[in-house]
Symmetry: C2
Subunit: 429 residues, 2 copies
């Protein structure tokens, strides 16, 4: 479709049109080779696409390469996937989203991306620009700087993630979110990443719903707002499910998409196989919009145009493998087993931090916890000392002078030793 036709199709979701950046407005798939090839898919003589095949659609596979994928059909592993991703994979992932988001949630047909970062980057290109800021809680994953500020020139606005100091068991800073939104006067994008990198925090039930929750703060915002729900760590919840610290325990996408006003809001969900299927190297992510029907399809085509103009199409072996896994009857049990390993590590980490008196920000989910450093200690210096003196690798978070500890790659029985080593440096004074 032409950009004009796509933009016209967004009339049923006016916020989307108000939110698109100049690149987002001109993004469109021309009537090019993939479209013409699809047109001729059922012809007896297929001379459209430049794939080396045997005339019946089977690739002329090189055995030295194909044997790496002997459990996949060569058509799945060696040939191009569509720009939008495998059709069946999109359907299955949409069902996966609907199952957790709840009935009545508007969900477009997901576009398959080359990993979750790619889905965020596409949102960045669609919605941010030098006069279209990105709002994120601080601290945030440092790659947002590269995706947004370096690439699109958009400024990043922040508000404090927590509503108080670490020692007082703070909560997610909904008031800070409200104040930051109040300062926005034009189209903007808000990114919410729960479970969060680097804090490892997911909001509690009353931080999402109710009059003082995230949903109410966003729905009340009077200007066009795209909300990116970065659900990279979806499902990795370890905190309590009942009581005063009960977690909301699912993506905020569903509640936001149901409450959003299409005149002002567009909610985007980015998620994928990276963590949910322990497939870090696969590069299979998804981008889904709260716009449905023709508007949802138009946004998906704009995303596909950005895919066509960067990587042309996504990795076929990875998409095939993810589809096989999602259709496996044993997948849920396999995921449960990984989740229980991570939950054991989570509990071991909390216990060890308490035992060794190492201060930490609240964490209840994901792969990380965040350790605030005492006044006068410098995160980069502590990071280097931990490598040299303790043979411990952690990530420095200069945004809040803290250390990020990834507990997803350390066995539970080794965690007390890890914390003891960290404590030797942090508590040395």
């Amino acid at each position: 479709m032409t950009p004009e036709a796509l933009n016209d199709a967004l009339r049923s979701h006016p916020a989307a049109l108000k939110l698109l950046s100049p690149l987002g407005l001109r993004a469109a798939l021309p009537f090019g080779i993939p479209q013409q090839a699809a047109d001729a898919a059922h012809c007896e003589r297929q001379a459209t696409i430049g794939q080396i095949t045997d005339g019946t659609g089977l690739p002329l596979a090189l055995p030295s390469l194909a044997r790496c994928f002997s459990n996949l059909d060569p058509r799945e592993s060696l040939l191009y996937t569509p720009q939008h991703g495998l059709a069946r994979l999109r359907t299955v992932w949409r069902d996966h989203i609907l199952a957790s988001a709840g009935p009545g949630t508007p969900v477009s047909n997901p576009v398959v991306t080359a990993g979750i970062t790619h889905a965020i980057s596409i949102c960045g290109e669609l919605f941010t620009a030098p006069d279209r800021p990105l709002l994120v809680p601080l601290p945030y994953w440092d790659n947002y700087d590269t995706i947004v500020t370096m690439r699109t020139g958009a400024p990043i606005h922040t508000f404090d993630f927590f509503d108080g100091p670490a020692a007082r068991t703070p909560r997610f800073n909904v008031a800070g979110l409200r104040h930051a939104l109040d300062r926005l006067t034009g189209p903007a994008t808000l990114l919410l990443n729960f479970p969060a990198n680097p804090t490892g925090y997911s909001p509690l039930a009353d931080e999402v719903e109710g009059p003082n929750g995230i949903v109410a703060a966003i729905v009340g915002h009077p200007h066009p707002l795209a909300v990116i729900c970065d659900d990279a760590y979806e499902g990795l919840f370890f905190g309590p499910t009942t009581g005063p610290a009960a977690m909301y325990g699912r993506s905020v996408y569903g509640a936001l998409a149901r409450a959003a006003d299409p005149n002002r809001h567009l909610i985007c969900k980015v998620d994928g196989a990276t963590k949910e299927l322990v497939f870090f190297g696969g590069r299979v992510g998804f981008l889904t919009f709260s716009a449905t029907g023709a508007a949802g399809d138009a946004l998906a085509e704009k995303a596909a145009a950005l895919i066509r103009s960067t990587i042309s199409n996504g990795p076929a072996p990875s998409q095939a493998a993810v589809l096989h896994a999602l259709e496996s009857p044993t997948l849920a049990a396999e995921q449960e087993a990984v989740l229980s390993v991570l939950a054991r590590r989570y509990r071991a980490l909390k216990a060890a931090l308490d035992e060794h008196g190492v201060p930490y920000w609240p964490f209840n989910s994901g792969c990380f916890c965040l350790l605030p450093l005492p006044e006068g200690m410098h995160a980069e210096e502590v990071r280097k000392r931990l490598i040299v003196e303790q043979s411990v690798g952690v990530i420095q978070i200069p945004q809040v002078n803290a250390l990020r500890v990834a507990f997803c790659g350390i066995e539970a029985e080794d965690i007390p030793d890890l914390v003891e080593r960290i404590g030797r440096v942090i508590n040395a004074r």
Copy 2:
């Protein structure tokens, strides 16, 4: 490194600095999580990166997914690759380039990209901008419009690919290239795609070298010029190797890189596994520069920054499979077998076109040939008639009112029938 430090490192290749777009100038990898994780790679306690592993570096693989890659080590298939791509794959591909480019050719350490389009797109972002045009021979692959004009806003300038009408057996239009270069007064990018899509033409020996060749035309250009050698179809040569129509028979990258002046020229090679290893769905491409030493490394880091800000890193199973294939002792024989199948189809196509009196532009390589349409016939109408009336799928090339026929997906014995069907429509009057 900071953008300033990277740009400073380009002083040994001044053209690179003159050629970078605003995005190219600010592209740089911050000292982020991947760099800090690499720093701590040898620590006893690794709490840097958010990968779900068993504490010894093995992923906690889900069997339903991992069994799709049972011939790859789970660390190869399931974990992140570096932003620049697998180190060993870069080395092996550099040797592969050097083997055909010839001794003395400056070759940077290749960056692995998510397919060949991705390498072109990175060049587009590094070098093109609204005031930095892209020059290409006409006709050209239509995705260049999406990669360049849609994405970076750069205009595309063209010159006729052939130096005369199809009926007179024309040659590559070096004079047209010279005139088009003469009209450029500032930094610009030239893209040369041989074997070409959609013409299927590769230049003859004297069209590349000698006083009236491509190399001389480019080397004589007085303004900063980036040259992208789009070698997607490298190695697929079927024309004569001796006599007056003898093909040059290799990438023009080597000759250009050796002759280029670092004050004015930067030669970029984009190639990959897509066609060379019949791995269309893999998304493994490479981007290599004629800048070496610190300048080559700085350009590679800028490319890696663009990768980090779009897809974060490339598909691991695909990179692992390509590396395995490149290190297989039987690979050359396997490629030879595919090449001989394609050569048979090429000869069958030429013979059938001659027999049925279907006019064609010269073609000697790659996957395609291009059929000019008689005056008054409209490419899109003919394409549709071929689908409906003849059950034949081809691609329309409106740039020159022609049809592109892909012979890489049709068995040699079916090609006469294909051409007969096409002839029925084209020669109907």
